[in-house]
Symmetry: C2
Amino acid sequence: MSVDENAFKAALAATAVHIEALLDGLLTPEPMTGETARPEILLAAMQHGALGGGKRLRPFLLVESARLCGVDTDAAHLAGAALELVHCYSLVHDDLPAMDNDDLRRGRPTVHKVYDDGMAILAGDALLTLAFDVMARPQVHSDASVRLDLVLGLARASGLGGMAGGQALDLAAEGRYTADKAPLALSEAHIRQLQAMKTGALLLFAVEAGGILGRAPAATRQALAAYGRAIGAAFQIADDILDIEADTATLGKSAGKDVEQGKGTLVALLGLDAAKAERDRLARNALESLGAFGPEADLLRATARFIVQRGH
Amino acid sequence: MSVDENAFKAALAATAVHIEALLDGLLTPEPMTGETARPEILLAAMQHGALGGGKRLRPFLLVESARLCGVDTDAAHLAGAALELVHCYSLVHDDLPAMDNDDLRRGRPTVHKVYDDGMAILAGDALLTLAFDVMARPQVHSDASVRLDLVLGLARASGLGGMAGGQALDLAAEGRYTADKAPLALSEAHIRQLQAMKTGALLLFAVEAGGILGRAPAATRQALAAYGRAIGAAFQIADDILDIEADTATLGKSAGKDVEQGKGTLVALLGLDAAKAERDRLARNALESLGAFGPEADLLRATARFIVQRGH
């Protein structure tokens, strides 16, 4: 493994700069063909939700998986920007008082704190809609059927059977929809499924999208999917550990909210030590999944290590 | 014009039955390829928002425009179901307390009244996501580039530069984002643009989608677009008139809310009589736009008359 932490962070930051520029270009006042006008206030709310921060981890995973499959990085970056729009929409909606009720995101006030809940709902809606718009554009891939596979994959990872479904399970776990309103006692299997949907599905799709863009053979796609599933699960456990161990300033969002909201996490169920061991086991799984690749997969390997070690 | 009101209503109802069956089939508990699982509570909230009512006017427009362009109706119905999912999502979100705050829709409690605001936000998100999923499926059209045109058209009609943008302008018109919170005095041009986006864009896309599915020549597409723009504008004025003249029981949603919320409408600006005259002028425009077609456009003609005359 020839990529050290500094080289990894430099690569991650370089992709983030590229994605930020693409998102900035997508969120301009000029309407596209088929649009009537772009209202200033909604555009500003979308910009607040999508620009100016974020590690852009999902685009990085997409771009590096695509590179592994021999794909031109400009196209992969645009697909990554589409994917990041879905991630940004989910943060804007999850932060709402009706959901996780967070005032702070990436060290700044959340969209509904700057505007109001109604405009934040619309900003999320429009970011999600824009994601599919971007993924369907010819610049993503010259072959229309490849773009359709990306649109379908993105939709399934994001909707009822993926991220939105996972967030619904999370809200239900708080006990909102039971008579006594007490948090549900979830089994380990239930928590793992919830997390595979809420966080895992989009991370998994990020690496699958690389394989779709590169029309990779089945063995490569299976290896990437195993890697994606492992880092997705490790990521959520690491996130839950951070929620307990980090403070709000380091995290850039409110710390300790999971425990406060009675969320079912593996940390709560297994204890901190066992959760850390599971996170590390999953990271090793991720590395093993990439066993067939050479140094061209080193940045993906470094990503798995980063997910385990990150401080925020 | 050989289609009388009863024949029109029978055709509209027949399409509604077909669309209801398609939506019911799309909202089943079995996960699709690429989905992890379909959580019962989110599925139920989506079903509440999408099934059991609605005139299904947008799918009807799509199906009839497609028929005019020589398209197999099974495929057009599925595209219509995708479009209807976007309409349903917009109703679920618009009814939220943070938006238009409505407790009643189609004579039933709104999604957030049955569940809560968080689950209603997620249900809308997942309905929107499913719309793009469905529109991208091979059953909509054998040619991938046609499906991509539909995905792109749907996204642009629905997002920042279309429906969501129009709803943002509507919220802004209430004065929410100004220091004194007083409703804005909108010009006629401003109201027309707001309505062209909020309601018109999706109705316009409905007829454009028929032309895309049928790969219709430019003259046909232009005629359909002129028709779509005219009925879209007429529809919103008719809606605003109904909000004043109808009672809540007839409307199936709360009446008189526009005036209460200080919404800028052409009725408020021009007065009831002038608004009715404008609605009728737009309906005549819609009929004139179809001048090049024979009896095969009679159901579209009847739709324009229905929009003007409907009681709810």
